[in-house]
Symmetry: C2
Subunit: 137 residues, 2 copies
Amino acid sequence: MQLSNTSKYAIRILSYMAREDSEYLYKSNELAKTLNISYKFLTKIMTELVKGKFILSIRGREGGFRLNNPASSITILDILKHFQAFTDFSTCILGNGACNPHNKCILHDKWASPRKDIRNMFATTTIDIVNSEDFKL
Amino acid sequence: MQLSNTSKYAIRILSYMAREDSEYLYKSNELAKTLNISYKFLTKIMTELVKGKFILSIRGREGGFRLNNPASSITILDILKHFQAFTDFSTCILGNGACNPHNKCILHDKWASPRKDIRNMFATTTIDIVNSEDFKL
DNA sequence: TTTAATTACTACTTTTTGGTAGAATTAAAA
DNA sequence: TTTTAATTCTACCAAAAAGTAGTAATTAAA
């Protein structure tokens, strides 16, 4: 009942990158230090974020990364989906084949409402939330 | 954002065992077949369930397993906790150290309410739910 | 007392996730 | 044109989770 490290890091990285204006180029080195993520693992995730079109990269000296879209348009759900961290709606929480109202696992009905709420929360929270209040990195 | 296979199996096994009256002894063989879980993996989980006092075992010929307590007293949360599938309340969803109102991750406030609802759902759902309606195994 | 049916134990293999190492590539600056 | 600071790629290593194999221990029935 928790997110993978990769998803967690991705959320923290992207929301941190929502702080500066869109011109600023974040370096892997800076990100790794301030977010306290191993440099090597971070660069792996950065590459994945580039492939997922969340960020764009400028290679070479003076290069770096910046968001590819306005922070207010990137939801937590977008990120989780990319890292397959939020299973789609046909798969139920007990994961015993697809659930439907006529053939449901014992938690099917109980899980429906919380699931909807979580999804909704993830879908309406964007990474620029960092600019509205004080958060730890 | 999902449960481990082991937790899922444990929930399915225990709720299946809530069907028959308390005298009946379930054999690993029967459980593995009806629940479609590999026999070897199932017996591993059964051993764990015995250690966790969820079930008791009768060894030897004509042996088997039965619930150790009334099905109506065993909650899904009990099971998840035993398999460490529900992290405790001090750890936040981004898992970046302990969160508190003065030092919180960006999802701290957003996650609070859904988390409470899920926990509540797990805490109030007992494995005898299978006896109130038709569910798949 | 032997046999068959059952759980329990120990150890291994496989798969997934998390993480690391090192070299290749790029492009600005010197 | 060389150096330097950055991303990218390929490959590996480690830890945890999932799953398998074989055998020992137990007990009732034959």
